[in-house]
Symmetry: C2
Subunit: 558 residues, 2 copies
C-alpha cells in the first residue's frame, strides 16, 4: 500500500538550550540528514572532563536511513564531535573547502581519514540525500567558507542558517548571498532554523573590517614589539594582522599549536595570503629590532595552558613578554573565562606591557562578534519569510528572545517552536506540531574515554574536590576478628597532616573503638563494619571541622 | 635620646591586586591603625574553600602598637574577616551605626561580642589612636552609613576614601560630604588611598534613585506576582522595593537568610522604613491575589544554594515561581558568576516567568554600581589634591588605570604608588619611597578550619577533582614477603567500574607483577615498593585512558 502522507521531523541532538555541540536533524520517512557535529566545552561541574559531544543513540538506531552529515563551517562547536560520530556512523560528510581542510586534520588524527567519504561543496552545489536535496548560500561569520543550508523535504523547504552575521564590508570582499536568500524566501520556506547567539543584542554587529582598522592604528603607535592574540580560526582577522605587519614592515612569528595549524591549512588552501619571508621562526625574533616584530598567538581566552598565558607568566619556552611590548587581545571573554582573561591582562601590565583588549579599545574595537545582532536576525527572517520558525544555537533565553524577534516581523506565535535537545517538530500536510521526543544527551569525553564517566564518577570528583578523602585501613584476624594491624588513616586533600595530628589521632581512637564495639556486638559483616566506621568517623570529623571528606574504609582479613 | 625623624608606613594586607579582603594599615613609630578587615570569596582553584581572609602575622608581631580597626562600611569584603582577626588581636573596633549593627551580628555568632570593644562613630566623630587622630566624611555607596577616613599622622594627613560613588540624588537624601572633603583637600593631603573598582569605566555611575524609577515602572506593568532579587545589604534599593510595593498596594514576603537578617537590623536601627503590615510571612502569600504579592529574595548572583536559584529549580521549601510571575534581578554578575546567573534566568523563563535583569532593562537599569566611575574618581582626586596617591581596592589593571587618571588631574607619575599586598610606602620628611616589604598572604577558611588548608591540600584536591583516586591495597607476609591478600584496587572518581572491568583486572595483574618482581630483586623497602607500584600502574593507566588518577598504594604486613 502506498503511503498517503509524508511526515518530516526536525529536532536537535545538541545546540538548543546551550551554546555548543550543535547537531540538527531533518528526518523524512525514508531519509535522515544531519547538520553539524560539534563539541561543547564542559560545564563547571563536569570536573576533569575535556569535552562534551551529542549522544547519537537515535542516529545509530536509524543508521540505515542516515544519508550524510552537512557541516556549515569549521568551528569546534560544529565539527569537534565529528571524528567520534564517524567512528560509529560511517556516512558521507559534506563541507566547503576550508571546513573540509580543518575536518581532514581531525580525521587524520583520529586515524579515520581514509575510511571517511568526504565531499567538497561550495555555495553553488546541489546534493541529493535520498529523497531530500540540499543547496547552500554563502553567509558571513568569524571563519571563512561558512554556508547556510536549504533542504528540500517532502513537506517543503527547510532552511538552516548556520552561524551568521551580515558583514557589509567583509574582509575577503564576499558579502552574504543576499539575492540567493531572497530567492529561497520567494520560493517559500516551510521552516527556518536560525542562529540565536546574539538575539539579546540590539542593533547590528560591527564589521570585521573595523577590527583591521583598529589593529592598524595600534600598530601605527606601538613603540616596541606587538603581540596579537586572537581565535586561531578567525582567518580574516589573522589576514588583517599580516596586512598590518606588512604595512609597518614587521615580521610575524606564530606561536601556539592551533594557530600554527590553522595558518598552515588556510595558506595551503588559499584562504590566507602571506608573501614569503613575512613569517619567521620564533627563534628569529630576538635577532630583530623590537619595532620589527609581531607575535601572533593563541590564548585570547586566558586559558591557563595557552601560549599567551604562559608568556604572561614568563613560563613560555621560547617567548617572553618584555616591558614596552604592546599586547592586543582581539577577543572578548566567552562566559566563564572572564577571570582567566583578567588575570592574564593583570600579569601583562605587571610585566610592563601595554594591553589593548576587547570591544572598547582607544583605537576602536579590536574584536567584533561573528554572530548577527537583532537587526540582522530580523533581516534574515524577512528574507526567508518562513511559515514556521525554530530558533537554534543558543541558551534558552536567547532562543526565547529570537522567538520574540520573529513575532515582531510577523511569524505567528503558534508557529514558533522553542525546543530542548530531543524535542521534535513534526510536519505533515503543511502543518507543524510537537512530535514524539527522541533520545538525546551528553557524552562526556575524558582523555581517551568516551562516555565512561557519568554522574556517579562526577559526584565522587565533586566530593573529593571539596573536602578530600580519608582512607582507613585495618587488618582483622580471620580466626577471632581481633585487630592485627591498623587502623591506619591516610588523608589526601583533607587537612595538613602536621597541623592536625591531634584530630587524626582521635579519629584513629574512634575507629578502633567502633570496631571493638562491633566485634563485641557480633556485628561482623564487612558492609556493616564499614558503614559503622564511615558513620562514626564522618560524624566526628564534621563536628570538629564542618567538612565531609569521603571516607573509604578498607578491611583486610588474614 | 629623642627621635629626630618620624616615619610613617602605609601598606595593604589585602585589597590591592585583588577584589576583596580589604585591610589597609597606617603605621607610625608608635602606633598602628588598621582600616577594614574583609574577606574574599575563593578563587576557582581554591577547591572546597569557603572564604579567604588576610594573613595578619605582621599585626600580631606588632600587637602592642595596634590602636584599633576602623571599618568604613558593612560589606563582607570590609567586615567579613573581623571575627577571625579579633580572636587573635583584641583591639577596639570603630564603625558607624549600621556597620556596627552588622558587625555585632557576626561577633555574636563567633561568640566574641562581649569581649570586643566596639565604638560607635558618625561622620562628625574625631577619634584618637595613640599619636594619630582620625576624622570621617560621608560618602555614597551601595550600603548606607559608608564613610571615608582622614588620619592625621606625624607626617601629615592620610585619606582613605573607602568604597564610594558620588550620587547627586541619593535615596536617603544624604549626599556625599563635598564641603568637608574640599576642606580636607584645602588643608593639604599627604597621601590619598582611593577606591579603584570602576577605574576602567568612563563617565559617571548612575544614581541609585534611577533603579527605584525602573523598579516602579516594572511594578506598574507586572500582571502577577513580582519577585525582586538583589544584594541583601543594599538597604536603599530594598527601601525602594518597599516603596514601590506600598505604591502599588502589594504585600512583601522576605526570603533568604541574609535578606531577613539585614532587613531586621536595618529596621531596628532606623535605616529602613516599613510600616506595620507590609511585610507578610511567606505562608501568607498564597492567600493573596497574585497582583498583591512581592517576594524579596537573595540569590541575585545565581548562587546554587540561594533562595532565587532554588525557587527557579522548584526546589524551594516554601515558594515556587509560577507562570506569569515577573522576576527582577537587580544586580549584574560579579566576575565568575556569569554562568550561574544565566542558568537561573533560563530556568525562570522556562517556568514561564518574565525576567528583567541587569543594566539594560526595558524600563531602564534595575542595577547601578556602588562604585564611582572615572569622572567621579577624578572628582575625588581634585577635591583631595593629594601629594602622593595610592590606588587601592582593585585588581592590578584597575589600580594602574586609576594611576593614569591621577596623572591626568596632575599627580606626578613618581608620586603614584602601585602596590601589591605587603608592599609598603614609607613617608619621612615629607618624602615618600618604597619601604621594606612586610609579611602578607591568604588565610584559607574551610569549614571550621582557619589556615589548615594550604597548597599541598589544594593540589591534592585539584588532582582528585580531575581524575579521581585509585587505592591499591595489598597484604604481605612478614616472614617471606609473599602476597597474603590483594592486590585490591578501589577507585573513586576515575571510571565507571562496570564499564572498565577489563582495565581494572589488567591493572591488578600489573600491580601483582610489579610486587613479585620487586621481591625477586629484593626491593623490599616500603617506599620503593610503593613508588614502583605508583609508577608502573600510573604509566599503564595513562597509556590506556590518558588520565592521571592519584594512586595511593597501601601495603600491610602481617
Amino acid at each position: 500500500m502506498a503511503k498517503v502522507t509524508n511526515r518530516v521531523l526536525i529536532f536537535a541532538l545538541g545546540g538548543v538550550g546551550e551554546i555548543g555541540k550543535n547537531m540538527y536533524v531533518i528526518e523524512s520517512d525514508d531519509d535522515i540528514v544531519v547538520i553539524d557535529a560539534g563539541l561543547k566545552f564542559p560545564e563547571e561541574e563536569m570536573l576533569g572532563i575535556d569535552m562534551v559531544i551529542p549522544d547519537i543513540t537515535y542516529l545509530l538506531e536509524h543508521r540505515d536511513r542516515v544519508r550524510g552529515i552537512i557541516i556549515t563551517h569549521g568551528h569546534e562547536d560544529h565539527i569537534g564531535g565529528l571524528s567520534y560520530v564517524l567512528k560509529h556512523l560511517n556516512v558521507p560528510v559534506y563541507a566547503t573547502k576550508l571546513t573540509l581542510g580543518l575536518i581532514d586534520a581531525k580525521l587524520k588524527e583520529a586515524g579515520i581519514l581514509g575510511d571517511t567519504k568526504r565531499i567538497l561543496i561550495n555555495s553553488e552545489s546541489e546534493i541529493t540525500l535520498g529523497s531530500m536535496k540540499a543547496t547552500f548560500f554563502r553567509t558571513n561569520h568569524s571563519i571563512p567558507d561558512t554556508v547556510g543550508v536549504c533542504v528540500e523535504t517532502p513537506e517543503g523547504y527547510v532552511v538552516h542558517t548556520g552561524d551568521f552575521k551580515f558583514d557589509q564590508t567583509p574582509v575577503n570582499g564576499q558579502a552574504a548571498d543576499l539575492a540567493k536568500m531572497a530567492l529561497i524566501g520567494e520560493r517559500g520556506v516551510l521552516c527556518l532554523l536560525s542562529d540565536s547567539t546574539n538575539a539579546e543584542r540590539p542593533g547590528f554587529t560591527g564589521s570585521e573590517r573595523s577590527v583591521g582598522e583598529a589593529i592598524k592604528d595600534v600598530f601605527n603607535r606601538a613603540p616596541g614589539r606587538i603581540i596579537v592574540s586572537t581565535f586561531a580560526s578567525n582567518v580574516h582577522r589573522i589576514q588583517q594582522v599580516f596586512d598590518a605587519a606588512m604595512l609597518f614592515n614587521r615580521k610575524v612569528a606564530v606561536v601556539g599549536r592551533s594557530m600554527v595549524n590553522v595558518i598552515n591549512i588556510s595558506k595551503d588552501l588559499g584562504y590566507l595570503h602571506v608573501p614569503e619571508g613575512v613569517i619567521v621562526d620564533t627563534d628569529e625574533i630576538n635577532k630583530l629590532a623590537a619595532d620589527r616584530v609581531v607575535i601572533l598567538s593563541t590564548g585570547s581566552q586566558g586559558e591557563p595552558m595557552s601560549a599567551l598565558t604562559r608568556m604572561a607568566r614568563s613560563a613560555h619556552r621560547k617567548v617572553d613578554i618584555l616591558p614596552g611590548d604592546t599586547v592586543i587581545i582581539a577577543a572578548t571573554p566567552i562566559p566563564g573565562n572572564e577571570k582567566y582573561i583578567s588575570r592574564t591582562i593583570d600579569q601583562l601590565y605587571r610585566i610592563g606591557a601595554d594591553v589593548i583588549y576587547g570591544g572598547h579599545g582607544p583605537s576602536g574595537p579590536v574584536h567584533v562578534s561573528g554572530h548577527g545582532s537583532q537587526e540582522e536576525l530580523r533581516l534574515m527572517l524577512n528574507l526567508m519569510r518562513p511559515k514556521y520558525f525554530i530558533p537554534v544555537h543558543g541558551e534558552y533565553r536567547m532562543l526565547r528572545m529570537h522567538g520574540v524577534l520573529a513575532e515582531q516581523v510577523g511569524v505567528p506565535e503558534e508557529n514558533i517552536f522553542l525546543l530542548d535537545n530531543g524535542d521534535t517538530v513534526e510536519f505533515a500536510g503543511g502543518k507543524a506540531r510537537y512530535g514524539p521526543k527522541v533520545h538525546s544527551g551528553n557524552v562526556l569525553i575524558d582523555g581517551l574515554g568516551v562516555g565512561d564517566v557519568g554522574n556517579i564518577v562526577l559526584r565522587d570528583r565533586k566530593l573529593l574536590s571539596q573536602d578530600g578523602i580519608l582512607v582507613v585501613v585495618v587488618t582483622l584476624s580471620k580466626q577471632n576478628g581481633t585487630i592485627l594491624s591498623g587502623p591506619d588513616i591516610i588523608s589526601r586533600g583533607f587537612v595538613y597532616v602536621r597541623e592536625s595530628e591531634e584530630l587524626l589521632d582521635e579519629a584513629n581512637r574512634i575507629v578502633t573503638q567502633t570496631l571493638v564495639k562491633c566485634m563485641e556486638e557480633n556485628v561482623n559483616e564487612w558492609s556493616s563494619l564499614k558503614n559503622n566506621v564511615k558513620d562514626t568517623l564522618g560524624r566526628y570529623l564534621y563536628e570538629q571541622t564542618r567538612r565531609r571528606p569521603m571516607i573509604l574504609p578498607i578491611i583486610m582479613e588474614v
